[in-house]
Assembly symmetry: D2
Homo-oligomer: 347 residues x 4
């Protein structure tokens, strides 16, 4: 398809972004063109928007279209595309992997060392159209609302984190109730956790966690997380900890609150090395720690799709704000202030 489109462009190596008119992407033989119906704002997008230290080191080429969480409809097919049709409703796995490294060959493509990321290393989806390789396309049921479909990618992070071990009949702590933390609460609820204790410093987010199924919400500035866990578990500690805050104090608490033989799944990205008491908090406790990144390709996507389609997790509850893409500044402001769940933009 030829022509121009409206897109949200990271225009300079500095703060901000702007709506521009750019070329509709040309697709390769193995790609499809998607008419974007809904996009959602990720924490990564906020980093790029505010242009923090991470962005300074990571983003090479500006101007470019950023954004990676979306849903839409296929409008054009590359010559070699076989399994996608015009009119399919789709989202996309945003990690483009090499397929030939040891990790990819072993079914661990989510930790491929040659990964490139949509909207970071490649032109993104904050636009009317986006080009996506066929192998990264995930088809959505036609009755799934576009807004919901657009947040399946970050929901996949939550699913990957929570379901990296046993949950049914287990007590689960979720530390950090940003959008993915809140969705992790929903996954733990759906998967049969007996207690779900959610921690944050922000009451708005804790209210969302409650809505998604937390059995206890704790504002860590008011209550001692370790004491709360001890009381709720008869002094045993919690079976599973999902660390989603990245804060060094919370990280330490994660290792202190988990019970002997328990599991800690870490999705968060602390900005500096964190001192851990390996002897007492890992070795003597016999804990298992899982580093979690991306989504298992494509096992996690199947779980996502089943949990959402079946209504086991109601993702609408997580979407607190929807704006036309032109009003992107409102969305980013809310994200920066933490006064929202997921924010969806409509191109």
């Amino acid at each position: 398809m030829q022509g121009k489109m409206k897109a949200l462009v990271k225009q300079i190596k500095g703060e901000g972004a702007e709506i521009q008119t750019v070329d509709i992407p040309k697709i390769e033989d193995n790609e499809v063109l998607v008419k974007v119906k809904a996009v959602s704002i990720c924490g990564t997008d906020v980093h790029i928007y505010t242009w923090d230290a991470w962005s300074e080191g990571r983003i090479k080429n500006v101007p470019y279209v950023f954004g990676h969480e979306f849903s839409g409809e296929v409008v054009e097919l590359g010559n070699k595309v076989k399994n996608v049709q015009i009119g399919d409703y789709v989202s996309a796995e945003t990690h483009y992997v090499c397929g030939v490294c040891p990790q990819c060959l072993e079914g661990k493509a989510h930790v491929c060392k040659n990964t490139e990321i949509l909207g970071v290393d490649r032109q993104g989806c904050f636009a009317e159209y986006v080009a996506i390789p066929e192998t990264n396309i995930w088809k959505n049921p036609k009755d799934m609302p576009y807004e919901v479909a657009s947040i399946q990618e970050p929901f996949g992070n939550a699913v990957h984190t929570v379901l990296s071990g046993e949950v049914a009949g287990r007590t689960v702590a979720v530390i950090g109730c940003g959008p993915i933390g809140v969705m992790a609460v929903g996954v733990a609820k759906a998967a049969g956790a007996s207690q779900i204790i959610a921690f944050d410093l922000n009451d708005y987010r804790l209210d969302l966690a409650k809505k998604l199924g937390a059995t206890t919400v704790v504002n860590s500035s008011n209550e001692n997380p370790l004491e709360v866990i001890s009381q709720l578990t008869n002094g045993n500690g919690v079976d599973v900890v999902c660390e989603m805050s990245g804060h060094p104090v919370a990280m330490d608490q994660a290792f202190k609150m988990v019970t002997n033989g328990g599991r800690i799944s870490i999705l968060s990205l602390p900005t500096k090395p964190v001192p851990l008491d390996i002897t007492n908090d890992i070795v003597f406790k016999g804990v298992t720690v899982h580093g979690i990144t991306g989504r298992v390709m494509y096992k996690t996507w199947k779980q996502v799709s089943e949990l959402v389609s079946s209504g086991r997790v109601n993702l609408s509850d997580v979407i607190t704000h929807t704006f036309p893409m032109d009003e992107f500044e409102k969305g980013f402001d809310l994200m920066i202030k933490g006064q929202c769940g997921k924010v969806v933009l409509l191109p």
Copy 2:
């Protein structure tokens, strides 16, 4: 404690049972005496009551007190008992294991070859009092109703079956909706199954399965189970099958309806060898088959306790009838006719 008590006694090697007055059991140093508050009737009890071929071969000594599913309150402690107190509310693991065989040493005591079973090999709980070794006692929260607490043991079978592999975001078939099948539906629901398709020939039981959370119920005499599964899974087959009927036709369907790479967990006890198409239904499909017996000691009990206490599974829904123990015949009749869920007797 000395004295007499009322008990339901298997009095002859033939049909029936009768209420008799017998001695209150004397406890060993390592045992506790439990005042029984509620008992429930297991399919095994029905076999013994009707004195079928299995009972003829298995039950050695009559008269004896049968029954093994119960809840009660501890009223006396053996000299060596350390971790149970008078007044504790309890149920019991009914498998008495040797503790020293390779299976016991490896944490697989539920398949100990030297197992003896309460109410089968030893005096049971259809009585006012029962003696239980300390190591087999499971403590119940004080706010758990006795009726509910009494059916935790069979619920443990359901938990063991369903949770022997992944469930969250998976499609699950339950074949056979006797009480344990119905409870398996509840476990699958609690654990996040995206679809739960329940099969039986008995509409009463299918209604119960619906109540516990089945998303589709199928009377296999009216509909072709394989066609139903095919339709509900886009021709892929179901991810998990819990076989709880023991019927050879259903067993064959279990292996036909499971998807490639899926899991079949078998709790049922077919009375004769069943021909299986190993080549097409196991090998080429790459399925995993789990034989399930008893409860993992005591991991399953912890899962049971958490799922029930947290309300994730509402076991009250499974208890359809409660009678005074004197009216045991009503209970056994309902069980024989299949017009019930769990039947509870009150001594």
Copy 3:
């Protein structure tokens, strides 16, 4: 590459095969052309050669080039090939999978329902050249002998079977010592089995099993397999059974000899349904049964490569005969008689 080549062709729907001159395969954009250096004869090839009932039902188009186990050197690249070079030493995964079915998406491509097989559904490798899709190519180290490299594919079946559960410090039975059974013995040895008991009716094969590391070999026509296992395991039964014979009597013994809580991995293909005592041999024992087909793509290939390159399994020991391809009849005769390990042909 244009021109003619010599190939072993299944020329009619009946017994036999013949050397013919045929066109060198034309490669697609995503394929590479391999100069074949060594091929080995699989049991499947023997079925096709002797044209048994299975072949009659399965093989659609004759004449065609059969054979699927090979090694060779890449001599031509399709236009879209990225990760293979001219001169690479290679073998191939012989299952061509769809990549888009639920199994493929979940990392279980070896049970893809749309699988096509080299030398069965497509032109095979009993020839001077073979065309292979890039995604199915497995690169070999340059110092691996061609004969050894050609049998990695069936060795992968053995690796997949044995390593589908724990082996180190476990007792392992291998039933059926055809070439894959013999290789399974080698895998069990490499992976730390404490005992490896191999069963067959053929002393030639049992000698090979001994060579690969069996600690006990049993001719099942002379000794009772169940008694042997009982003696060697103090009556406990064996921890792991690899069933590779497909014989119904042996299959039943497999389920009888395994210990409570043990594992049975079945790679064999019984020609008829086999009656199994599910109650006593699966449920009460709490065993796990794994159906094994193909190789996990490509985890198994990595294990294969590491075990062979490191010398942990010496595959040369399994290759008992090597012939020029023209003398293929000698090879097939030996396979039919069971007087060989792997037979390698040199085109």
Copy 4:
């Protein structure tokens, strides 16, 4: 049994130990008395001997008999002992666990929070006799040399560490070649690792690692461990790291040398918190970290017994020195200098 015996006693809260004559222990109903045939010196014993900060904080009552690794023969039985006989050759699990905490009930008794340890919290085995609860007794085959049998307990630590995940066909790094590290090399060898790269600063220990099967030994003061791993794995990193040094620099290297998706099993006990780059070394890599303590009760013991009895690991190679117990100072000196493998004392 009444009378006196010779024992190695930790006599003061300060450096050293001395041979004294003390009472033979009286056994409880559930205990057996063992005539000690061989004991071995653990790093823990060295801590107690030299009276470091850890000992100061941990050891409550002196004088007492220390030591916990032993083998011997049963000479007396408590009244309630059922499964041990006079004349049995035995060793012991040295963790005395409560049996009723959540961890014990779930089959994770090795992380029981109420654990007491032989020779630390209770009278130990550096003596002619030791009293052991029946449940902690492990029976040895009569043909296992006493010296070898005495080091099964620390060998169990090595087995637990290495076999906490897949090993066959994997590359394994062992960091720290004290006696347990050296035994870990032997386990990795037995379990089919394709490469075993051992690191230490002490050439004596590296020679032992070589003897036990290391394919590469690296003195980390001479070579850069990360470069060595990179070269040996084509830049991919190692699949499995067993961290047994406790040194903060080595710990950091452990997380740097592991490949994406790999496993780090930590048995070591760093004396201070260690800063970890969680973002880059755990999360983005998607690694799994296992804290390892003790031995899985009693699965690990079975693996130990099978690996030693079958000759898959030759523990004699690890025993470098044997002394009469009176010459204990020679043994402790060697341990302090690191010029030994396991040191065995004969009471």
